[in-house]
């Protein structure tokens, strides 16, 4: 180790607060003349890299991102996890679970690449978009569905995933005026939908991103029809894109919760699981699959779906619900 390697950390710290004496400043200068690393560190500091005060631009960016993730919580996710109280965390040993969630978040984001943004948005949405009393609703709803299913002996058939019909894209003329937040709507969706995959190949990524943004804008604005139009167009025009794969669960949730279309929702959940059985949203997909099957009155498959959720995700936030549903549906 040479004298150059003896970096004067304390002097560097005091230089930041401009509290160096003349002698100390001279010593620091002498070291910096020989040590390019410390010189660079000081240059970074002079550039304002460690200035802790965010700029107005930072504030605006933060506001935009927070609005995006906050506004994406339109879908009523009854099983949304809550941030637990510290006392309960200590008793329940939840820190281990949270660490696991954080690790899985990193792994998942890495796994899904450019769709990480979509994924984190969908991850945050349940956290911030939970209804006031989220836990009891699914069971009540499930009981209602079960009772309804008993009244209707013939349960609707379970369909295999099919490309969603183009008929959902409405003509521009009959689409109501867009809310301010929805910058792109059915007219753009329809235009994109008319473009075949060959001609769209050059701009495929941009187009799928635009469609996804359209869907999200519409969801945030509460325009379910426009959102579904955009999601449908994504499925049709870019069925294999990352944007489509990552938005499939949000699409299915919208169909199930806002439209009550359990058949189409089930098809999307199953399509997601077929392509990404170990994907970052597999847990939500399995949950949605079980809920859809219950909604359809297919209790046998619903029971199997709840068991599958528990088997694949024993630490899931939905585990309690799954156990309750298994107990209720078990013969």
């Amino acid at each position: 180790m040479t004298p150059v390697d003896l970096h004067p950390d304390e002097l560097l710290e005091r230089a930041r607060s401009e509290s160096l004496t003349q002698g100390e400043a001279a010593r620091l200068r002498a070291h910096v003349r020989q040590c390019s690393a410390c010189a660079m560190e000081m240059a970074w500091s002079s550039d304002g890299l460690d200035d802790r005060a965010p700029s107005e631009e930072d504030a605006l960016c933060a506001q935009r991102v927070i609005e995006q993730v906050w506004g994406s919580a339109v879908s009523p996710l009854e099983h949304a996890p809550r941030v637990p109280a510290p006392r309960r965390v200590a008793i329940g040993g939840a820190p281990v679970v949270v660490i696991g969630v954080l690790l899985s978040a990193s792994v998942a984001a890495a796994a899904i690449g450019d769709s990480g943004r979509r994924w984190v948005r969908e991850q945050l949405a349940p956290l911030i978009g939970a209804p006031a009393a989220p836990r009891e609703r699914p069971r009540d709803e499930a009981k209602g569905v079960k009772r309804a299913a008993k009244r209707v002996p013939a349960a609707p058939p379970i369909v295999e995933p099919q490309p969603l019909a183009a008929s959902r894209v409405e003509p521009v003329a009959i689409v109501p005026a867009p809310p301010a937040a929805a910058t792109l709507r059915a007219d753009r969706v329809a235009a994109v939908a008319r473009t075949d995959r060959t001609s769209a190949s050059r701009d495929a990524v941009a187009s799928s991103s635009a469609l996804l943004e359209t869907a999200r804008s519409a969801r945030r604005a509460g325009d379910v029809r426009a959102a579904l139009d955009a999601y449908d167009a994504l499925e049709r025009v870019h069925p294999d894109s990352r944007a489509t794969r990552s938005s499939r669960i949000a699409h299915a949730q919208l169909l199930l919760d806002a439209r009550g279309d359990a058949t189409s929702a089930l098809a999307l959940y199953e399509r997601y699981l077929r392509v990404s059985a170990a994907g970052p949203l597999a847990e939500e997909a399995r949950l949605g699959r079980a809920r859809s099957l219950e909604r359809l009155g297919d209790h046998t498959r619903a029971l199997a779906a709840w068991r599958e959720l528990l088997a694949h995700h024993p630490q899931s936030i939905h585990a309690t619900l799954a156990r309750a549903q298994i107990a209720e549906l078990s013969p």
């Binding site: 710290e13 240059a43 941030v83 978040a105 984001a109």
Partner: protein
Amino acid sequence: MFFRRTYTSSIVDSSPVPAADALAVDVARAQQGDRAALRRVLDAVGPDVVRVVRAVLGRDAAELDDAVQESLVSFVKALAVFRGECSARRFARRIATRTAIAHGRRVRSRAEGRERLDESVRAPQLMVADPESQSLASRRQQLLRELLHALPLAQAETLALRVVLGLSLAEVAAETNVPENTVRSRLRLAREALRERIEADPELRELLGGER
């Protein structure tokens, strides 16, 4: 003078005293499931998160929003176990630093993977193709980002906490839960790597401008 800026203590939020945290009440309410309080906390820490992510990834990084969102998600999830050992803003900045470093590495790794597929694309250069188009400051920041991506994670995190968050050795030791001497060691190794790069490249030496 080495440092052109004066550090104003009023803007520094490094107090380890939990009681001084203006967000403590909202954090506690958010931990109990109060959505409005959680929103207030996010609004308060959001700009800090963006600033840190910008510093680590670059001002115009295409993946900035992704990394900010990822950081906010991690922050919300980690809030459950937050005990108030430091201020919520500092907690958020620390999470953002780690998240941004990890995010940058993933993006870089994917980009390198794509480039390997295309043999016509040259290996990534340390500096951008047209250094003349960048100011010295932005080129220096680019160098830092390259370094954060290339260093072992522990060294990268230590360097980022030191350089980006401006933490003291003691603060970095507390943040990373290692002895202060370990922090010194990691910083020394990071500086060695940095110095090797600078000494090997006249263009990088140029970035030091009048600092040397």
